[in-house]
Symmetry: C3
């Protein structure tokens, strides 16, 4: 049993955060909220999302697991105006999700969860540096790096206490340094890793420009990014594996 | 003789209502206003439009019939700002229409009316049900149906006194019910017909979201939709033939 | 040595004015400002631009000549918000331009000026007529002419004291007349020349709609257009060669 009412904005933010990595996902219906974990086909980018029951206008479930086509569900949610409420009601027998928006009823066929790629475990990593950065600074970095390269290096200089971004193209380079004053927070530690820009661009699309993003970084290690949405009642963690640095 | 001045908005609304079905049309210049009737090449959708002389800033004609290329005329009208006036002046000898917008003069070659598809007669139909619905609810219905199917069923349930929309896809369905309270008016009578969504999507483009649309419906019969524009001085009727329902 | 700070708007207006004609250009770094002259590959359109040192927040140079890729530089300037400042710093040794926008540093490889097409001399011409016209009227003329033809005739009727635009298509024509009252100024003299619309469309893109554009015209002669930007501290002259009129 699953019967819930949620604002269209919150539903869209939830779906967008996952759809930048995968087309289909499993949604765990837990008593205290939804949980989604997914990894892209190349095993490079992972997402772990949690949306608390308190983010819903009403939320009732006795647990369960459903598989959904994300772009289909995004299209449906996109029919609602920002403030409108979306009613979700699972029909256990037909394995269909009834979605109502102001009298309009959409019946969505669910996907067999067993046919969806297995969910990843996001490993606990002991990462050396930790910063808190505004979403708009990630956006600036990614946009600028994209002008010169397919890769982006993210790092922290423990001595100078700054976070930096580097992208090297054939002729042009991009460099950004943010000091402790430019950041919301910085826990220094030497860190430097190279990432595929495509993945970071996709993740960036789902990060609100005004979000406070906690970024954990290491030496040739994955980067983890954590941020909240839905007034703190939704939380996303992205993890992105590094590329091997060419010497 | 035809010499008239009309606001760009009114002219654009007139042209858009017809161009969603045909590329060229005949315009009847009557003493009390313009009349346009047209049917698409497949004989599925028809339009009957009337724009009263009172909708013009000035309007003079001794009658006549001209043939126009609609998209060309739409482009010209699109050069004007919304509030600007468009001056139309027919040169009988050259069969050209002089169109002036704030000093800019466009000379449009007319089309021989005899070369344009014959105008349809919109039949009087004794349709069983009649509703009045907001343009935005037609828009919602069409947009949602388009997500799952190429067809859309429109119907009225006389017993429950409601108007409904149904679209069935391979896996997903869309259903909308509007009761008497959700509608502006409802005269019940059982009705149910299936239509091609492409045509209804095109007609929907020309229906203002805030229009009150009178819809006449029957059992496997065409649907007629009537609405006004130009502050009631323009009136459009669309008629759309039903598809044969597959059993 | 070249070290300057300029608002993003001013930099973008400068680059856009030149990039409508060429992909690469030489920039002369003079003590009292920047100078750019360029001609398109077909030798039909020329631009002469000057941006005074006073248009910059700060400006220091001991002279020099650099070659730049305009679209690359436009992309970088486009990263800044309208009011933001862009810091330009030339590294003489590496021949790279360091561009900083709020902490983001972009290193742009310059182009060898010798590899860029030679700069034109804009000839002094004794043109018979001179008008001052609003940018938005040029925009209207070009947009309307583009609906019917690839060419546009610009002329002045000395007797009737008016400026006119003519475009003749296969079936339709466009004509615009602006009297002394419709213009900002008019110094009459007979003039009539035919121009390629493609070039004028490109130049029109860079002319602000609210600019006062001085236009010099002759009989089968080039047209010169002069306008200011950056509150009068930047000035652009376009010159466009006429097409031979077919008899």
């Amino acid at each position: 049993m699953f019967n819930a009412i949620v604002s269209a904005d919150t539903l869209q933010a939830t779906l967008d955060s996952v759809s930048v990595l995968v087309d289909e996902c499993k949604i765990h219906l837990e008593e205290d909220g939804l949980e989604i974990r997914a990894v892209d086909p190349a095993n490079v980018g992972m997402v772990d999302l949690r949306l608390d029951a308190a983010a819903f206008e009403s939320y009732e479930t006795d647990g369960g697991l459903i598989g959904v086509n994300l772009s289909r569900l995004e299209d449906i949610a996109g029919m609602a105006d920002a403030g409108q409420l979306v009613h979700l009601d699972l029909d256990e027998e037909t394995r269909k999700l009834h979605i109502s928006i102001d009298g309009l009823e959409y019946t969505l066929a669910l996907i067999d969860p067993d046919s969806i790629r297995q969910e990843p475990d996001l490993p606990d990593l002991d990462l050396s540096a930790n910063i808190v950065i505004e979403g708009k600074d990630i956006d600036r970095s990614v946009t600028a790096a994209d002008m010169v390269s397919d890769h982006i290096a993210l790092g922290v200089d423990a001595t100078d206490e700054l976070f930096y971004v580097d992208a090297e193209g054939d002729t042009d380079d991009v460099h950004l340094e943010l000091t402790r004053d430019d950041l919301i927070d910085l826990t220094p530690g030497d860190a430097h890793s190279l990432f595929s820009l495509d993945y970071l661009k996709n993740m960036n699309k789902a990060i609100p420009k005004d979000a406070e993003v906690e970024m954990e970084l290491g030496e040739e290690f994955p980067v983890k990014m954590h941020f909240s949405f839905a007034e703190g009642q939704g939380r996303v963690t992205y993890m992105l594996a590094p590329r091997i640095q060419s010497e």
